[in-house]
Symmetry: C2
């Protein structure tokens, strides 16, 4: 299938986290696509993930429940759009599973993984519908939150895999 177009970053509307991590694209992919692994890193501690459901196909469910340190649950529901194993994962909360439009779309995430001599170039682009959405996400602590999560992901997969 042809690659999707227009995934370039728009600095007015998008937020980007890009870092080189010292684990392989294969291990990062595993962390993102298997619920038992994703639950261990997808919320920045002391937040946690109590539930995760993954149906890894276009239109398939991506559902998580994040739990605050005070015990409040925040459900997230969306669906996958593109899946290129070890390379690219696109999902959105603008569509529920089966592509049904949702009430309050917030963002589409484009994760790309590229092999690097030290491991992987890890890149997440969060695409918002407007500047207000971008600013809200930034104020929620996008960069710090996703960066802490990435540290957690790396530590988790290192514990999984023989070095």
């Amino acid at each position: 299938m042809t690659q999707s177009p227009n995934l370039d970053v728009d600095p007015q509307l998008d937020l980007v986290l890009e870092r080189v991590v010292d684990v392989s694209p294969e291990l990062v992919w595993k962390a993102w696509t298997q619920p038992q692994h994703l639950k261990k890193w997808f919320a920045p501690a002391p937040w946690s993930v109590s539930e995760c459901e993954i149906d890894l196909r276009p239109g398939g469910m991506f559902r998580t429940v994040m739990v605050s340190p005070e015990g409040e649950a925040f459900p997230n529901m969306g669906c996958y759009l593109e899946i290129v194993p070890h390379e690219k994962l696109v999902f959105t909360d603008a569509l529920a599973p089966g592509y049904r439009p949702t009430e309050k779309p917030f963002f589409t995430a484009v994760l790309t993984l590229e092999p690097h001599p030290q491991g992987t170039i890890y890149r997440v682009v969060a695409k918002h519908r407007d500047e207000a959405g971008k600013q809200e996400h930034e104020a929620m602590g996008f960069h710090q939150g996703w960066s802490i999560c990435l540290d957690q992901l790396v530590a988790m997969v290192k514990a999984l895999a023989p070095q």
Copy 2:
């Protein structure tokens, strides 16, 4: 790629047009995916289509401008989600090209074509985010409008193809 899940019809939220038409799936596909053909049938006369842009890949643009009998222009912008030539076409206005969430999502359309001894089982399912959306679409004349368009499509491809 695995077929997408959850495309079943929900009678509370979806509208369906299903008819057998006496032209082949290949010709219906052509009518849906080439701008010069789509412009001839996609709006029920005396409405017309003044512009059509098709970038036939997941995340690619599907843009039309419909013109009322009084000359008022109504632009529609969305993107494709799934493309299975001669079988299935899924697009939505909940995401702009490149999967960016939009301001006012209305529906996702799932077109399926199935070979039939008389030609093609033509099926369009319009999936709305809520019952109000479905009712609004119904009141706009979904069934009549899409049915007139389908008659126009059939007449158009018959004029194209040697019988």
